[in-house]
Symmetry: C3
Subunit: 207 residues, 3 copies
């Protein structure tokens, strides 16, 4: 049991670092200063979880209760800033793959936490989705642009599918770990396939 | 008593559906995809109530506790997306009238809920206003534009007046239903009159 | 003790009024109407404290619990609107100096309140920073622009330094008042020096 908890914590911290790295890169691309870079690292990595915790009544949110998460996000942001030439040269595919893994992890962990707080199954799937994409939405609000998840790509939808699989799995009696693996796998696979094939959600014909 | 509760619930669900319809139409106008349409339906219909509940300490917010509200918002958004040619052709006046009715309902219900949570009378009027206009403000933030209620129209002011009438009515001993009817009527009438006559709040002379 | 409490309350109300004045001026510059002016006064003056209170679990937030704060913000906004020719003519240096004093006050008061709610020392410094700059961030979000603290100036960093000094001072056994004076003084001095010398945080080379 101790070992599983360690794996879960390690995965959570790894996902936080990946999202923080991406937040820092976007911040530098938009000409923010060092403080802006660190704020975007925090927001992208931890914003989704903070929104989820506020909505399900788990206050103070985990990122405010446990100093390891903000410290990890800030250190990642600082390192990305210092080594920005390296960060700039990072290839797309590995980053996108790590991002999909982080999305999968956050979606199933967020849905599971909502269930733990006695939130009903349908809302729990929404909370998983919010955990996965909330940080990116706040990032886009801070950059004064329409959140990308609202207009393009199978991204929030992949998080939603992963959360649905987790919640359905728990309903049908699967163990937390197995349901999380199935849900996370579904989210990850859907996201990767969508990027590879350029899948998009439908839009209404132009107004 | 049962009957009154049913009427209140029906009105609340109707207001939610109207706001969700409007959110979906705005989302399609801005080129969002199906997910964006459903998110805007949710946000416009339920965002104001979520903000109010977080501020008065009623967590988890009602839209997270009661799955009927998000389901209704999403279904409305989905139907609006599927029948977008019909939605496009909806005439202005009936939509505006229904919107004014929804605004009136949300303003008085929000102020009453704040009073129920022992919030003082002045802040309760603000909470009623936030319930009425908060969803539209978040919609505009997501669309990366200055919230319309801050720059034009008698809209938030109508919600405020309705909430003031409700709170004053309760103070002077009116029943909840009578105070809500008076407050809602004041908000509705003021909003309709303002649209018909093009009333605007004053602005400072250009800077 | 009564006397100290009165001083703290007076300082808090003065800081609220200064921030509300600045919010009203920015709102008028952006062509908002009277309601928008009053909302921006509220948001700039009280937004940081509301975010801090939601994050540390102090709900309802102080600005919702104590009607004196919103009333003060609204009255300040209204007066600034009525006397907008005078507000327009206010010179930069005194406003900037008062703003730095308000920032210092909010940063140390916010960090102290987080400590009072048993938030750990590192997160308490972040909560102090959020209290100082959160209102300005929400102002910029409502104006659909990238928050200025993320891209330029020693402003959030000054608030952070002030909060760090307060938290460190409390850790080393200083009285609340002495720690607040040292922290507030550090924030104020750093902010003023940064404006006078045009100090900026580093940015990554253009992408």
């Amino acid at each position: 049991m101790k070992k599983i908890e360690s794996i879960v914590l390690a995965a959570d911290l790894a996902g936080t670092a990946v999202f923080a790295l991406e937040g820092a890169i976007v911040a530098m691309r938009h000409g923010l200063d060092l403080l802006g870079v660190m704020v975007l690292s925090f927001v992208v990595a931890l914003g989704g979880g903070v929104i989820r915790d506020l909505l399900i009544g788990a206050t103070p949110p985990n990122a405010v209760r446990d100093w390891r998460y903000p410290v990890l996000a800030f250190v990642t942001g600082l390192l990305t800033f210092v080594f920005h030439d390296t960060a700039r040269a990072l290839p797309f595919m590995p980053i996108m793959t790590l991002d999909a893994a982080g999305l999968a992890l956050f979606a199933v962990a967020g849905a599971q936490k909502a269930l733990d707080y006695r939130i009903g199954p349908f809302i729990a799937t929404l909370m998983g989705t919010v955990t996965g994409v909330g940080g990116g939405v706040v990032r886009d609000i801070l950059l004064a642009r329409v959140p990308m998840v609202l207009a393009a790509d199978i991204y929030a939808s992949a998080a939603f599918v992963g959360a649905v699989v987790l919640v359905a799995g728990r309903r049908f009696g699967l163990s937390p770990m197995l349901a999380a693996l199935l849900g996370g796998g579904a989210c990850f696979a859907l996201r990767i396939l969508a990027v590879m094939h350029g899948w998009q959600l439908p839009k209404a014909t132009p107004w």
